[in-house]
């Protein structure tokens, strides 16, 4: 009596569940099917207004249609999402990835080698160091989009007020730090953001530190090499003598310091120009840009912080068409101009750097042509800097241990020493072939 009813009820429920699930699954699977008409590609990017370039591509290419998926910036969850999607085998066709995470994606086998679609011929179009970043041997894993050559943004008004020379060497930078802090105890030469590993690695890059090297079929790890330890000692000295602030960068307090002149410089990449302009509008006319101070007087060696690339993921059903889009997006002059004007990015395409829409004086920087400075720097960024395949772990460990240093536990040098051993251990655990030290 009762039992048959129950089991029938169950059967119905089970059937209904199966029906709903199968509809849902069909809906998922059918999105990228197209037997005739243009090839449909999806592209994950966080670059503002990049839709304009995508639209231009779609209107000039009848056989390919690219759909842009606006995502949050890589480290705010998009990389995690991409890696998860790669794991599940349903990554999009194309994606935005910063240089420092290319080896991470390469090491999960996630990227298509674009050299088979003619990408190698583009080498001479791009700023040399950016091309070096996207290649491993003969393989081309990404097309460079923008870059972040580093310089010193400084408060011209404060330097004049306290009669400080604009530093050209790190030794001078430190003298200025002392002089400024003595003249005004509430003012600091700059902020040392302990949580921002990318910032510190930019300085290491300039000093000639080489954390990762590819040696045949294994990785050489040298987080605490001589150059890196020199940079660490320098900033440890600044910290110990209370010559720098230690606010986390891009926090409200930090923006406040930019506005109020509590910090006299920001050592940052070209994209910082826009950060200052939009977050400290009242300081218009007070800022100027000078090349980064040097370790050896008279040299011209620079580092880089940020910049990203366009990649084709392994799950793409149409890698050739995707490769075509990736190349077009970053080499078509109108597309690059749209990205420069829509997102204020600084392109990796050589020919664009001297174009009139970039290379011009800006009113905010007292009519200085700051991009002239950056063009020189861009050509002198050290080409041989190599990122490792576990940068997420390196950045996290670094940010935690540097934070502990600012809380009085250890020094930057001891932090680099422990970072060396934790990185080697971590990579060995993951099965990479590693030579430490």
């Amino acid at each position: 009596m009762a039992k048959p009813t129950r089991s029938r009820w169950f059967t119905k429920l089970a059937l209904a569940t199966i029906a709903i699930l199968s509809i849902a699954l069909q809906a998922c699977g059918s999105s990228s099917q197209s037997s005739s008409g243009p090839v449909n590609l999806t592209f994950w990017s966080w670059v503002p207004n990049i839709q304009k370039s995508v639209d231009l591509f779609n209107s000039t290419h009848s056989n390919i249609h690219v759909t842009l998926n606006s995502v949050t910036a890589g480290n705010n969850g998009t990389y995690a999402k991409m890696l998860t999607a790669l794991k599940a085998g349903n990554a999009p066709d194309l994606g935005q990835i910063e240089y420092q995470f290319l080896p991470t994606f390469e090491s999960v086998g996630g990227l298509v080698d674009l050299s088979q679609y003619g990408a190698s011929s583009l080498q001479s179009d791009f700023v040399p160091w950016t091309w070096k970043q996207v290649t491993v041997g003969n393989a081309v894993y990404a097309i460079p989009q923008d870059s972040g050559p580093e310089a010193m943004f400084y408060r011209k008004d404060l330097f004049t007020k306290y009669n400080l020379p604009v530093p050209t060497t790190w030794a001078q930078f430190q003298q200025d730090a002392v002089a400024l802090h003595t003249a005004d105890p509430s003012a600091y030469i700059t902020d040392f953001p302990p949580k921002d590993a990318g910032w510190f690695i930019g300085l290491i890059w300039q000093a000639g530190g080489r954390w990762f090297r590819i040696n045949g079929q294994s990785w050489n790890i040298n987080v605490n090499d001589t150059a890196s330890m020199q940079v660490a000692s320098y900033w440890q000295n600044m910290l110990s003598n209370n010559l720098v602030k230690t606010d986390p960068d891009f926090s409200t307090a930090w923006y406040n310091d930019l506005q109020t002149g509590t910090v006299a410089t920001w050592l940052t990449a070209v994209w910082g120009a826009n950060t200052i302009m939009s977050n400290a509008p009242s300081t218009s006319g007070d800022w100027a840009v000078a090349p980064m101070p040097q370790w050896t007087a008279g040299q011209q060696v620079y580092g880089n912080w940020g910049g990203s690339t366009t990649v084709v993921f392994k799950d793409s059903k149409y890698p050739q068409q995707a490769a075509e889009f990736a190349q077009w997006l970053n080499t078509n002059s109108q597309s690059v101009q749209d990205m420069v004007q829509g997102a204020q990015l600084y392109p990796a395409l050589q020919s664009a750097l001297s174009s009139s829409y970039i290379n011009q004086p800006s009113a905010f920087y007292g009519n200085q042509n700051i991009y002239q400075v950056f063009q020189t720097i861009s050509g002198n960024v050290d080409v041989n800097f190599q990122w490792g395949p576990t940068m997420n772990q390196v950045f996290q460990d670094m940010s935690d241990s540097f934070s502990n240093v600012t809380n009085g536990q250890g020094t930057l040098n001891s932090a680099l020493n422990s970072l060396q051993s934790s990185t080697v251990t971590y990579m060995q655990q993951q099965g990479f072939s590693v030579n430490g030290g």
């Binding site: 480290n75 090491s107 999960v108 891009f250 406040n256 996290q396 934070s403 993951q430 072939s433």
Partner: protein
């Protein structure tokens, strides 16, 4: 219904008995299925994931393989000093914050219950409102009040000469977080205790008054003992909540150097899974945290039931 022969009758009775016995299970079935699907299954899956590791080879330019590695991850997590530091931090937090919060909740509940103040509903609402504010928003609001450059409170202390005053310093930040959690959850716990107070029959108060009890004694000898089970329940929830604190540190970590990525167990597991891409290790941490939470919450239940003699 007509009964046929005796044998069929007893058979039918038996079948009926089985049916009656199974009725409770039918009623808990909807819960049971969801419980299995959304609670037991994810824990089992986390345990299963924790048994694997991702292995690269050489330079690692080809896809890595996921291989079975037994209890390696669990063993590593079990010996991970960062996990114990975060757990220890949360225990210290709980030992101080939970009693303060429950004390306040009890105090406010008694106040609302005893005094025939006007605007009682308004006060009840006012105490409860912080709970309705999402945790991340609460942390942002307090973050503003903690920020040395912007906070009027900090600026006040600096103005009267306490220059080193900093809510976000290494030693203060845990208690700054405790303050946010207390602010958010006191009202919620107050409502639980207040509801328990409402259920106490008023005859007890009348009898106590006739025996000469004043308001304080009524609270001390009648109300508090009778709402003790509600307090135990809130305590249990609070302990589980403390071990799972995530919103506050994950929001405040962007404005202070005092909070590292392994500050609380949940933040540590989150970082392992979504920042450093160690899914399998994160699964192991999650399993350990579930076990730790289980031990602490059931430990508290056993202690309290033993004390009340049930």
């Amino acid at each position: 219904m007509m009964l046929g022969s005796k044998t069929t009758g007893s058979f039918r009775l038996k079948a009926g008995k089985i049916w009656i016995k199974s009725i409770p299970y039918v009623f808990i079935m909807p819960f049971g299925i969801l419980f299995l699907l959304f609670f037991i299954a994810p824990i089992m899956y986390a345990f299963y994931s924790s048994l694997f590791v991702v292995k690269h080879s050489g330079l690692g330019l080809s896809a890595p393989v996921t291989v079975f590695n037994g209890l390696f991850n669990l063993n590593q997590a079990f010996h991970d000093p960062l996990f114990y530091q975060s757990l220890g931090r949360m225990l210290l937090f709980g030992v101080v914050q939970v009693p303060i919060m429950l004390g306040l909740a009890l105090f406010f509940a008694l106040l609302l219950d005893s005094v025939t103040i006007r605007l009682k509903n308004l006060f009840r609402m006012a105490f409860f409102v912080p709970y309705a504010i999402p945790g991340v928003i609460a942390a942002l609001l307090w973050g503003y009040l903690y920020n040395p450059q912007l906070s009027p409170i900090v600026q006040f202390f600096h103005a009267i000469g306490w220059k080193s005053f900093d809510f976000l310093s290494q030693h203060a930040v845990l208690w700054s977080m405790a303050n946010i959690v207390t602010w958010e959850w006191t009202g919620y716990n107050m409502i639980i205790i207040y509801s328990a107070l409402q259920a106490i029959p008023h005859e007890l108060y009348e009898a106590a008054k006739i025996d000469g009890s004043n308001g304080f004694n009524i609270a001390r000898y009648i109300k508090i003992p009778l709402v003790a089970p509600a307090i135990v329940l809130s305590g249990l929830f609070s302990i589980i909540g403390t071990l799972q604190i995530f919103n506050e540190p994950s929001t405040l970590q962007y404005i202070t150097n005092s909070i590292t990525s392994s500050y609380t167990p949940n933040l540590y597991a989150y970082t392992a899974a979504f920042v450093t891409n160690q899914y399998n290790y994160a699964a192991a941490l999650a399993v350990l945290l579930a076990i730790a939470t289980f031990i602490f919450s059931f430990g508290l239940l056993r202690i309290t039931t033993r004390q009340t003699g049930e």
